[in-house]
Symmetry: none
Subunit: 259 residues, 2 copies
């Protein structure tokens, strides 16, 4: 075997792998191999060790970070095109965040993509009730204000009267909201009334309400009503959304973006 002149020490290499996984949220075996100049066998062995240590989670094709289990879905069901769209939507949303602005981040996977992008911004203030978003921003990034409240495990968000106590004290320039469903007739709906209430309070206290929802949410109606369309300023969705949605909403004065 012809080893390199200065090969990295095994633990050092594994640290690098861990960081790469963490920064990207996900890393492919092949990419790691090229990056670290070792064989795939070594990468796999390292990933095995890192998984035992609880540092990363292995998936077919590579590994995902433990910090944000968000990306599991990206790997777990490749059929879910929505992940790619969600990423695009988040990237578009990022362009709306101005210098030194304050933004609210709702729960949900799309806003979680946005959270990751916002990590680079240290000039802004992020208000959120999502534990996942909180975790994403825990190490570094913008100023973070968290709404308290009762923890709802299923959505990993804070809800209930205690969270609105905090929300009523603040005002954000832009609120990036997720949703379970949106349709022209019933407006925005979600599963839990408590959550719907929180979303409503946020919307009322935000300069602009920006709805992030991929086209799979179109024409879906859920149990709890959040608000009507007149509360929404901008909808960011994707090309696959039915034409008449775009048309009708724009007629109603809502900006619709299709990145």
């Amino acid at each position: 075997m012809i080893q390199e002149a200065h090969p990295a020490l095994a633990p050092e290499r594994r640290d690098r792998i861990r960081n790469l996984v963490r920064e990207g949220g996900v890393a492919r075996v092949e990419d790691l191999r090229k990056n670290l100049k070792v064989s795939v066998a070594t990468i796999r062995r390292d990933l095995e060790i890192l998984e035992e240590e609880g540092k990363v989670k292995r998936v077919h094709g590579g590994a995902v970070s433990m910090e944000s289990r968000l990306e599991e879905s990206v790997f777990d069901d490749k059929t879910n095109l929505a992940s790619k769209q969600k990423k695009k939507i988040a990237e578009d949303a990022l362009t709306l965040v101005g210098h030194e602005e304050s933004v609210f981040l709702d729960g949900g996977s799309t806003t979680l993509f946005l959270a990751r992008l916002l990590k680079q911004r240290t000039d802004i203030t992020v208000v959120t009730n999502s534990v996942r978003a909180m975790e994403e921003l825990a190490d570094s990034g913008p100023r973070v204000i968290f709404t308290g409240g009762e923890f709802r495990r299923i959505s990993q968000t804070m809800v209930g009267p205690l969270s609105t106590v905090v929300l009523e004290q603040i005002r954000v320039d832009k609120a990036f909201m997720g949703t379970m469903g949106f349709c022209l007739k019933n407006g925005i709906t979600t599963t839990d009334p408590n959550e719907a209430y929180v979303k409503r309070v946020v919307s009322e206290n935000a300069g602009q309400v920006i709805l992030l929802a991929d086209s799979t949410k179109a024409d879906k109606v859920s149990f709890a009503r959040v608000s009507d369309w007149d509360q929404v300023d901008i909808l960011i969705t994707d090309q696959a959304v039915p034409k008449h949605f775009t048309k009708t909403l724009r007629k109603r004065g809502i900006k619709v973006r299709l990145p």
Copy 2:
């Protein structure tokens, strides 16, 4: 043996090794050999000694600094004596939590151990401002209420006026508090005034205040005053705490437990 003109003395050489490891985070045996102009056998013997002294951690191919190892989770560090004590303290604290009670969990590593133990209890309500504790209880466990507020990265807790807004709305049976320092003269102190204020509000709204602090915190005084001893009902520490502490505090009506 043909020694060099000015060979470094052994302890001096080991110091140099230690510095090289520390600066680089890692160092290879081969690099150290070239750098210090001695044989690999000598390097290995030095590393063996340095490892015994706890200065570096040996790995195949070289050594890594202890500092880089330290950033790992408090739970990984089995050798850390304070960790063992903290674990014992947390286990003792757990016995104080009654059925269907509500408890507050402060930030800090000791309370984090307690959080892990509380994960098994689904009958209780946990109130906390610690993101780490939140994460620990995110998947399953007791009902969790989180205080909102401004996120303080260094302690990974929520502080400031927004967190007290929530705290004033609730009342807990027992508050498990951590601290940076405690001494007979100055009472309980911590680093940040904002944090101290939160702790004070919690203490006032708790049925019982239980201070969890290993003996390394004894006679330490930090910047911000939290409270005097009359606010504390129970102190859980360890055997290594000076005798006069135990004596004086018990005389003042504070229960001192030494698990």
